[in-house]
């Protein structure tokens, strides 16, 4: 059976692959709502992550997450750089020194991280048409799964992904109130937020990795 660390690194690798592949899609989504740089930035960031994969093995879970977060914050730039960087860094900080055999550290960490992301964006809320619209429902779903005693990671992530996708779907009809898209006001309606797609791809990639590589 794979160690938690192997799984985490595998998931990060798979996320990197999938987000790099999504460059065009993210750029296209960032055109009507923003400045068309989301795809190229995310690609640059996760290509940098791919380069540091070999170094991750010598770190513990917390430091792996922080290292990935800083790599993203050092290479992407822009809002997505800050938000994705913050996401990984704060998740890493939250689990630091905690018992990684206790599954409950993960919903805690994700909630901590989500809170900093929301603060970083200027008090972002669900409904503002940002990646929070996918991230928050997914985090809530994970919290609920864990609280109800669910221990199967695939099924936890399947539910989280469904929640993220649902949030992404809803973002289409939202009026943006945060980030660059907010300048458009009502003209932002009708376009899906690219950040929500990043979140969906991340959960999707994690799930894919778990399904094909881990004996559950």
């Amino acid at each position: 059976m794979q160690s938690q660390k192997e799984i985490l690194i595998g998931v990060i690798e798979q996320i990197s692959r999938k987000l790099i592949e999504a460059e065009k899609q993210l750029t296209e989504l960032d055109s009507p709502l923003g400045d068309a740089d989301c795809g190229v930035g995310v690609k640059r960031g996760f290509e940098a992550v791919q380069k540091i994969i070999p170094q991750l093995n010598s770190l513990d879970l917390s430091d792996i997450l922080k290292k990935v977060g800083f790599t993203l914050a050092y290479t992407i730039g822009g809002t997505s750089g800050a938000m994705l960087g913050t996401g990984f860094i704060e998740t890493g900080k939250s689990i630091e020194g905690k018992d990684d055999q206790n599954i409950a550290i993960w919903p805690d960490a994700l909630e901590d991280s989500l809170a900093v992301i929301k603060r970083r964006g200027g008090n972002t809320q669900v409904g503002d048409k940002t990646l929070v619209d996918s991230l928050e429902p997914a985090v809530i779903s994970i919290r609920n799964s864990v609280n109800t005693g669910e221990a199967n990671m695939v099924s936890i992530l399947e539910k989280a992904l469904a929640a993220a996708k649902d949030g992404s779907e809803k973002s289409i009809n939202m009026i943006a109130r945060k980030g660059r898209a907010s300048y458009l006001g009502e003209r932002s309606v009708g376009h899906r937020d690219p950040g929500t797609v990043i979140i969906c791809i991340m959960f999707d990639a994690a799930l894919e990795y778990l399904k094909s590589n881990v004996n559950i």
Binding site: T27, D35, D37, G39, V40, A73, G81, A82, R180, Y183
Partner: protein, 331 residues
């Protein structure tokens, strides 16, 4: 897409290299971090830094030098500078008197500068203050938006703060002065043609042959309204009226104005616009102390311009006219 570039991902690096080799004595460059800093020795002053995505040249790497910025962090095209670059930049310019971040109000810029401030605080690095610049009246400053954007009015902030910092003012006073400038400047722009980012290779939005975008953003974001193309008198009146009525600027106010090209518009057209702004101000009893007409804060090859007005006081006037020594120049 036809541009004078090589690979899209090398655009910023090659531009900064060109900047450095063209100003070998005055400008230093850390290529990996896209940090541009002044090389002439200075002491006993607060370090003044600005940073944002690239694609707005000459803003802001080209404003680094005596009397203006001490360093600039250039992000990738249209993407806020990265955390590490901001942190390093602050360390480079610090002379023990602290560092002032002048940040245009965009979510990405704010978030990255905020992360950098937290990191510097954590590392007991130089003391940092941040002033957010948000002069764009095209965006409603409400809880329903990310707030007003920072656009060409930032140039007034850099100029005045740069000059004041050379006099040895402390961090707190400079931050207060920067707020004061920001509170007295308003801007609005429009586009006739959208820009094309090197990475995307096609325009960031579509504009028909008879359309224009009013209140456009500096990053190729569409503006607040799409209208039919109008002649200069009407366009420039729309912009100037929006700016004047916002602060509002009033009869007998003394102002400085910027007519700022967005990158693809020739200087001749900017001067036509400047003449119109002068007429409007004259009719409103607003006295123009100094007029700045050029490309200051651009959006790659976007065609169009913005109009900025700054309400002056004696200190602003004094600090506006001190000389600068910066890479962007004619001779």
């Amino acid at each position: 897409m036809k541009k004078i570039i090589n690979k899209p991902e090398d655009v910023v690096g090659e531009m900064l290299k060109g900047l450095k080799v063209s100003n070998p004595k005055s400008i230093g460059l850390i290529p990996e971090k896209r940090i541009v800093y002044r090389k002439d020795p200075y002491l006993n002053k607060v370090g003044i830094i600005s940073g944002s995505g690239s694609g707005h040249e000459p803003d802001q790497a080209f404003f680094v030098g005596r009397g203006m910025l001490d360093a600039a962090c250039a992000g990738p095209v249209f993407a806020a500078p990265t955390l590490d670059a901001i942190v390093d930049c602050a360390k480079i310019v610090d002379r023990g008197r602290g560092v002032l971040f002048l940040v245009k109000n965009y979510t990405g810029d704010r978030a990255n500068f905020e992360m950098a401030s937290e990191m510097l605080e954590f590392e007991s690095g130089p003391t940092v203050e941040t002033v957010i610049i948000n002069d764009d009246v095209a965006v409603k400053d409400s809880t329903f938006t990310a707030g007003r954007r920072g656009v060409a009015g930032a140039i007034f902030v850099y100029k005045i703060i740069g000059a004041k910092s050379e006099e040895g003012s402390n961090l707190e006073d400079l931050a207060r002065l920067a707020e004061d400038v920001n509170n007295n400047v308003r801007s609005m722009g429009f586009a006739l043609k959208p820009c094309t980012t090197p990475a995307k290779g096609s325009p960031t939005f579509e504009l028909g042959p008879d359309e224009m975008e009013v209140g456009v953003g500096l990053h190729g974001e569409p503006g607040r309204e799409r209208t039919g193309y109008r002649r200069a008198n009407i366009i420039i009146k729309t912009l100037t009226d929006a700016v004047i009525s916002d602060l509002p600027f009033q009869k007998n106010d003394e102002v400085a104005i910027i007519v700022n090209g967005l990158g693809g518009t020739p200087i001749s057209e900017l001067y036509i616009a400047a003449g119109i702004v002068h007429d409007i101000c004259k009719n409103s009893g607003i006295y123009i102390f100094k007029t700045y007409v050029n490309n200051y804060c651009t959006s790659l090859d976007m065609e169009g311009c913005s109009v900025s007005l700054l309400r002056l006081n004696e200190e602003f006037k004094r600090l506006l006219i001190t000389p600068v020594d910066i890479p962007i120049r004619y001779f």
